[in-house]
């Protein structure tokens, strides 16, 4: 992220205290009047809990849900290498692969359709972005009906196409796919809006030069649209992955992590351990694991994809 500052700034607070120390300190104190509401809230609800989660991971939890023995890193080792966590991680990765790439392709496709210059196009823009107005709970309730094995519309279409009906949410082979379908639809509006803004920021003259050079539709897409859109693609990939790793609501409503743990993603597992089994220690370890995963994944994506990003 580009942070522009007008002048070089002292990096450490309270640096250079000796000479103009008092004046500097006054400036800091004055700035803190403006900053302190945010700093206090971040401290209490983001930084402290982060440290506290790491700390909770060092302690076992007794059967009553109270903090038990200090076990140092033992709990981290056992939980992070356990079958359960590896399974949750695998489901989360699958869920991300099922939702993020299709979401990007569909969102870009819709955005390109909505980017045409036609009378009445704004109606279609609103329609394409409408899913942004549905919350995770609303979308899940809608799809719960669509995916219903006996009266749902999806199985009706399948039957009309002479395909076997599917018990979407109760079949371990299909449940994750059903949840992914719901999620792709839920996030489609956001992806379309973001891609459309990206497309509209591409200067018209680039398309004109491409046309003069005799480039066809496909060549124009490949050599003008995609490179110009690469910052947006990076953003959608990074944010989409983070959203996928943090998904909870649709799973809680549609499948409750089942059947047979087929949809137990990491956040669902954290919720189960902490608030169903009251094992804060295990849940805290999983939460720290999630944090490291998201941080690492975001870092990797930015590092490897940023090279391909073409900034104007």
């Amino acid at each position: 992220m580009a942070v522009t500052t007008t002048e070089p700034l002292p990096v450490l607070p309270l640096a250079g205290l000796a000479a103009r120390g008092l004046a500097q300190l006054k400036r800091l104190a004055f700035a803190l009047i403006f900053l302190s509401p945010s700093i206090i809230l971040f401290g209490v609800f983001i930084f402290y809990p982060l440290v506290k989660s790491v700390y909770l991971g060092f302690y076992e939890t007794d059967p009553l849900g109270n903090q038990g023995d200090f076990v140092a890193l033992d709990q981290y080792r056992t939980v992070l290498t356990s079958e359960d966590f590896r399974h949750a991680l695998w489901i989360t990765v699958l869920f991300t692969l099922y939702t993020v790439p299709p979401g990007i392709v569909l969102g870009l496709g819709l955005a390109m359709l909505a980017n045409q210059k036609l009378p009445g196009i704004s109606i279609f823009r609103t329609a394409f972005s409408s899913t942004v107005a549905t919350s995770v709970a609303v979308a899940s309730m809608m799809w719960l009906t669509l995916l219903n094995p006996s009266v749902g519309l999806i199985n009706y279409f399948l039957q009309e196409a002479d395909l076997p009906r599917i018990d979407w949410l109760n079949d371990p082979d299909w449940a994750l796919l059903a949840v992914s379908l719901t999620t792709i639809w839920l996030n489609l509006g956001l992806a379309t809006i973001v891609f459309l803004a990206g497309l509209q920021s591409i200067p018209e003259r680039l398309y004109e030069s491409a046309r003069i050079d005799g480039a066809g539709r496909w060549a124009t897409f490949l050599h003008v649209t995609l490179p110009m859109l690469s910052p947006t693609l990076l953003f959608v990939t990074v944010v989409g992955t983070i959203l996928a790793f943090e998904s909870f609501g649709q799973i809680h409503i549609l499948t409750r992590g089942g059947p047979l743990d087929a949809t137990t993603v990491i956040v669902y597992s954290i919720w189960q351990e902490a608030f169903q089994r009251f094992d804060y220690g295990v849940a805290a370890v999983q939460a720290v694991g999630l944090f490291i995963l998201v941080l690492g994944l975001t870092g990797l994506q930015i590092r490897f994809l940023e090279r391909r990003v073409f900034y104007q």
């Binding site: 500052t5 002292p10 450490l12 640096a15 500097q24 300190l25 700035a31 403006f34 945010s38 809230l41 209490v44 609800f45 983001i46 930084f47 809990p49 982060l50 506290k52 909770l56 359709l113 036609l118 196009i121 279609f124 609103t126 394409f128 972005s129 409408s130 942004v132 107005a133 919350s135 995770v136 709970a137 979308a139 309730m141 809608m142 669509l146 006996s150 009266v151 519309l153 639809w185 956001l190 809006i193 973001v194 803004a197 990206g198 920021s201 910052p231 959608v236 909870f248 609501g249 409503i253 956040v267 954290i270 902490a274 608030f275 849940a283 939460a287 720290v288 999630l290 944090f291 900034y311």
Partner: protein
């Protein structure tokens, strides 16, 4: 019924010929473009449309096969029943209060912090700004256990404090407003200082009025996020009169397990404020959502 390969190929090439000839004419080009747009829009909107249909059907019609695709005999009573069965109106009010407080809080804290980062010079400014941005890297789920314990210890379970206070500051909002504040000419600050404006009055009477569009974008964006919250309200509310509408929907489903039509009516009621906002404030929403995505 068996379709031979030959007839299929013949049919396909007939289609292709028809499409090509249509594409060759000006009106045909338009018609095809609109056809594609209409089909795409129909697929995207289908789940919402079916919710509207199902919310208006009779209980017997909802299990009919083939499914009914239009409510010829609309049952408006389903909406009444959804409102009667669970305190849906109260859930909506709770969501509204929660989201409203979060929006106001975020606008206040973000504007103050952004002002300091954009207009004040003080030691440690870069460090503190990076500290703010670093909060964007912490998934809320990672902090959720200690935060739940904090709220529990404060005795705030089932209260608006629990639903709102953890979300009253926003690094995204601070960043967004700072970027805009930096575009305000410094000469304005100097002129205001000559007129005897302190920082507080300059922020209130010059900077904020000049930033109305950005403030609106941030407001719409944070309202959307707050309204859609699921995991946190699920944890910190148990009582019926504190539940938000997102959690209340699940309660309605539990109560009305065999009447999809009533559940769909409730779902539509819950979706209504956001759909209205999308139609009314599309511009602000789009600006808020894309602020981070597109460079500049």
């Amino acid at each position: 019924m068996v379709t031979t390969t030959e007839t299929l190929t013949a049919r396909k090439s007939a289609w292709r010929r028809a499409l090509r000839s249509a594409w060759g004419r000006p009106w045909g080009r338009y018609a095809l473009r609109y056809a594609v747009l209409v089909v795409a829009a129909a697929v995207v909107v289908l789940p919402i449309y079916m919710t509207v249909v199902n919310s208006l059907l009779r209980k017997e019609s909802i299990i009919a096969y083939p499914p009914e695709l239009f409510p010829f005999d609309p049952q408006w009573g389903n909406f009444r029943r959804a409102l009667d069965e669970v305190p849906l109106a109260r859930y909506m009010l709770n969501s509204l209060i929660m989201s409203g407080l979060i929006v106001i809080g975020q606008l206040l804290t973000s504007a103050l912090a952004a002002y300091a980062f954009a207009f004040l010079r003080f030691p440690g400014r870069t460090f503190l700004f990076l500290l703010f941005l670093s909060t964007l890297m912490v998934p809320w789920e990672v902090a959720i256990i200690p935060n739940f314990q904090t709220i529990q210890r404060l005795g705030w379970l089932d209260s608006y404090q629990a639903l709102t206070i953890p979300f009253l500051a926003s690094a995204f909002g601070t960043f967004l407003l700072r970027q805009h504040f930096l575009t305000i000419p410094r000469e304005l600050r100097d002129a205001a200082a000559i007129d005897g404006y302190g920082h507080g009055r300059f922020l209130l009477f010059v900077v904020l009025p000049l930033s109305r569009p950005v403030l609106a974008s941030l407001a719409v964006f944070s309202f959307l996020l707050a309204w859609n919250q699921y995991l946190w309200p699920l944890l910190v509310t148990n009582e019926d009169n504190m539940r938000t509408v997102q959690i209340g929907l699940a309660a309605l489903r539990g109560r009305e397990i065999d009447s999809f039509n009533v559940v769909m009516a409730g779902t539509l009621i819950a979706a209504m404020p956001m759909l209205a906002m999308l139609v009314l404030f599309q511009g602000q929403l789009v600006r808020g959502l894309t602020a981070g995505a597109v460079k500049r």
